[in-house]
């Protein structure tokens, strides 16, 4: 299973790219843990995770073809 992750805003500075893919994450909590291990700087930033364009309020299961997005605080307008 491969989960595709798109990255926005200041998270692109920290992660260094705008897309990632993981084959071994089953839910959003696992994803967060994995990301904070790989990118310790992420702990400084509050970010949301959207699954298929809906912000996950709680831990959410991920399945193949889900589109996951990492969303730092919005600053439009």
């Amino acid at each position: 299973m491969e989960i595709r992750i798109i990255v926005f805003g200041q998270l692109t500075d920290i992660i260094g790219k705008t897309e990632l893919a993981f084959s071994d994450v089953n839910n959003t909590d696992e994803l967060k843990q994995k990301l904070s291990n790989m990118f310790p700087e992420l702990s400084k930033i509050k970010y949301a995770i959207a699954v298929n364009k809906i912000v996950a309020q709680n831990n959410t299961a991920l399945i193949e073809k889900d589109l996951v997005a990492l969303l730092p605080p919005f600053s439009g307008g």
């Binding site: 798109i6 200041q10 364009k53 997005a69 600053s75």
Partner: protein, 147 residues
């Protein structure tokens, strides 16, 4: 007479005064409108740690943002008595002094336009996945924070 025609919200680069004028002029045929409230967001040359912002580079999760704009729009039409509403937001580079957000709300009586316009602007800032990268003269940047 309520018009709910959808158009794309995002526009490449700054929103020009001429574009705004054309939008206003298009409403002269809608003679049930008595009040328009227009909000324009303009890029400021803020001084941040001794460096001056010269532009903001806007990016967005466009598919999710268009969906959010649609929800904001539907909610405003059901809450307020509006004749029409248009939202435009820049994507890409907008220089200091240029316009990056254009919210245009029209109603029969002024209270609806005023209330709705303000609420829509707050919702855009809080709920829509858009990010502003504030660019300095030396090409370094910080990420904009909304208050």
């Amino acid at each position: 007479m309520t018009e709910k025609k959808k158009h794309k919200v995002f526009r490449q680069g700054a929103i020009t005064a001429n574009f705004i004028a054309e939008s206003i002029a298009k409403h002269s045929g809608k003679t049930n409108i008595g009040a328009h409230d227009i909000f324009l967001g303009q890029v400021r040359n803020d001084l941040i740690e001794n460096k001056t912002v010269v532009a903001i580079d806007y990016s967005a999760y466009e598919e999710m943002a268009e969906q959010k704009f649609h929800e904001i729009r539907e909610a405003a039409f059901s809450k307020y008595n509006l004749v029409c509403m248009h939202i435009y937001h820049s994507i890409g580079i907008v220089k200091a002094g240029e316009i990056c957000l254009f919210v245009f709300v029209s109603s029969k009586h002024r209270t609806d336009a005023f209330d709705a316009c303000r609420e829509i602007v707050e919702q855009i800032k809080a709920q829509v996945p858009i990010w502003g990268k504030e660019i300095f003269e030396d090409e370094s940047h910080v990420w904009k924070i909304n208050n």
